[in-house]
């Protein structure tokens, strides 16, 4: 299965297991513009899988109402770039529903799925990574999967988590990544990072699409292609880099990250959103405090620039393998 199919599979499990579950959003009935809800309306009926009018504030507000009645609402925002009309509903409402009612009400049944990150030709409004904007919204969780298996397990866990979750799906992975996804109903833990490669010299932390650039960069570090080899000192090629997929951005797995950095003494964070106040800023500040005496180099952030995402310039905007390689080398020789 690729990612859009595994998400469809997860949604189908959610509908089967839970009669109160409904799925809705713009163009969801015909399968969604990324095909993640394909066939669900036919299979489960239009009462459970339906189109909404074109209004993101409406979609999230409606989803909050459903969840407040103890039902499961799975809302789709067509692109993460278009989540902002719902910002008020998410930050002021979904995030604060439980707190402001003294725990009497909550909207834990709400999950907001939305495609995120760049594809290389999306420009300003089809490339954004807005996860950082929600880091201050205590009360919601933010989850970003990296692959079909992860998407299925994390989505089912998000739907069943007792809190509202924004589930951001890296859209380039819908069709590109393929895995043997177990067909049964399973969950992966929210709030837990995943150590993909163990290492002792540097911690490389990321989530979503850039993970694949990180893997490429690590290959290049170990055996640099001839054109760039002069920039990779021989002595560093055997460096053991620990690669971590953060998976949950809020609340993030401070334990795993801090434990890793305390061992490696070096941290490089990669994300596509711009540098200033991106999720990396929060992580860097916390690591700096918790690992201060163990750090051998400043925490490095390799990110998009503090500009909108510009179409024709995207190759020089997105943190790609060469920038990550360079950042790893710089941090190792610091």
């Amino acid at each position: 299965m690729n990612t859009y199919q595994s998400i469809r599979d997860a949604l189908s499990h959610a509908l089967v297991r839970d009669d109160t579950a409904v799925i809705f959003g713009e163009d969801v009935a015909f399968g969604g513009v990324f095909r993640c809800t394909m066939g669900l309306a036919e299979e489960f009926g239009r009462e459970r899988v339906f189109n909404t009018p074109l209004s993101e504030q409406g979609i999230v507000g409606f989803g909050i109402g459903i969840a407040a009645m103890g039902h499961t609402s799975i809302a789709e925002i067509q692109f993460a770039d278009y989540i902002y009309p719902a910002f008020d509903q998410i930050v002021n409402e979904a995030a604060k529903f439980r707190y402001r009612s003294g725990g009497q009400y909550h909207v834990g049944g709400l999950t907001i799925r939305t495609p995120t990150m760049s594809v290389g030709h999306g420009g300003l409004y089809h490339s954004q990574s807005p996860e950082g904007f929600f880091m201050g919204a205590a009360g919601v969780k933010v989850v970003i999967p990296r692959s079909p298996i992860q998407a299925k397990g994390l989505l089912l866990a998000s739907i069943r988590d007792p809190n509202p979750v924004i589930f951001m799906e890296p859209k380039i992975l819908y069709r590109s990544a393929v895995e043997q996804v177990p067909i049964d109903d399973f969950e992966l833990p929210i709030g837990r990072a995943d150590v993909l490669i163990a290492g002792s010299d540097l911690t490389l932390l990321t989530w979503g699409t850039p993970l694949y650039h990180c893997e490429t960069a690590l290959h290049m570090l170990a055996s640099p292609p001839p054109q760039v080899s002069r920039h990779v000192p021989e002595s560093l090629r055997g460096a053991k880099v620990e690669l971590i997929d953060l998976r949950t951005i809020l609340p993030w797995d401070v334990e795993t990250v801090v434990e890793s950095v305390n061992r490696t003494g070096r941290l490089v964070i990669v994300h596509e959103a711009g540098l200033t106040a991106g999720a990396g800023a929060e992580i860097a500040a916390t690591v700096q405090k918790k690992c201060f005496l163990k750090l051998d180099a400043p925490v490095k952030r390799i990110t998009g620039w503090d500009t909108p995402v510009p179409l024709q310039y995207e190759k020089f905007y997105i943190p790609d393998a060469i920038r990550i390689l360079d950042g790893i080398v710089e941090t190792l020789i610091y």
């Binding site: 278009y82 300003l124 500009t307 360079d326």
Partner: protein, 444 residues
Amino acid sequence: MLRQGLAAVKSRACLPCRRWLASAASEKHGHLPSSQSPITSKLKFFKSVTEDGGQIPTYRVLDGVGKVIDGAEVPEIDQAFARKIYENMVLLPTLDTLLYNVQRQGKISFYMTAYGEEATIIGSAAALANDDEVLGQYREAGVLLWRGFGLDNIMAQCVGNEEDTSGKGRQMPVHFGSPKHHFLTISSPLATQIPQAAGVAYAISRSPRRGKNCAAVYFGEGAASEGDFHAGMLFASTIPSPTLFIARNNGFAISTPANEQYHGDGIAARGPGYGVWTVRVDGNDVLAVLGAVREARKRCIEEGRGVLVEAMTYRVGHHSTSDDSFAYRSRSEVEDKKRIDNPITRFRLFMESRGWWSSDEEEVLRARLKKDVLEAFKRAEGLPRNELKELFTDVYGGEEPWNIKEQREELAGLLKKYGDSWEPWKNELARFKRKGQDILQKTD
């Protein structure tokens, strides 16, 4: 006695008071103290804006074969103006076909056609003054063609070359903009332009252009579901702002049929709720669109408030090059629409009936437009992109903040190191004017 007295008062009273007195006389319970709402003892609900509860009618001038329908008046139009309208109506799909095809060949990243909506777009453009400010959604390139933006500018934006003044290659194709043509730059997030249009109109009403211009805002029936639509209508009506709302009701918002966007009578039914003049027009009848938008514009400017036009049309093409509409509508539905209600044919038949157009001219026109469009594309395709340094410009005006400067320098450092060895960058740099040298020099 009393009756006579009342009659005397009535005859001298101003118009609104007279209306009130008339109703007060017939409505024996009076009215609410704070408004003109008459008190009634009948419990009556309503959900229609027409008196008989039926649908809002659609204004039409030409029938399907270009004949003026009974009782319709042809808006003022001469041969030269009619030909200009017609030529632009034909240019639009000619341009669309080329750009759609070159997108399929991977030469541009994206495209959206306006097939089927030529009458709505060109007819409304023709009804506006060329210096009315236009805020479009994305399917209104025809307004720019009408205003003489030119094919070179269209192509420059779509290929994102160094001549792209719309956005320096930063935005996806069809995101045009030109202050010279009074056309604000297109933004992908839907409906954001609608309340902005009210602000544009308010500013116009406080400038030397007062009473001469309006702000015309285009949006789809899908976008009209956004909160921003309602905010825009509300602001343009409560804060007097000459805003002309042009809803393109083309039946679809990507896959979602229009009847899933509203339970009421389309977009037009919302106008009276905001107290604005409203009309529904056959959007495939260019003369009806011309006449309706002219009159709407007149009221808009005279009264200095919002006016709403709902143009009923049909999206013949796919939503965009990312869409295959046959996943949600049948080919035969589209073919039928194309055949039965083609806005270009309708107008051509009208022109021919007046002796304003001939089949020879048709042939010459089509050949010329095709050639113009192809040449413009070929030329644009051969030009390099803007300079790479434009990645970092225009974020702010005035002094460049430190973070932007630092990041530009960081990229320059990386390019120095890897620009001629890292293949993906090397190939990409070659496509920019000055091949990235500008960024290196700026830092030296």
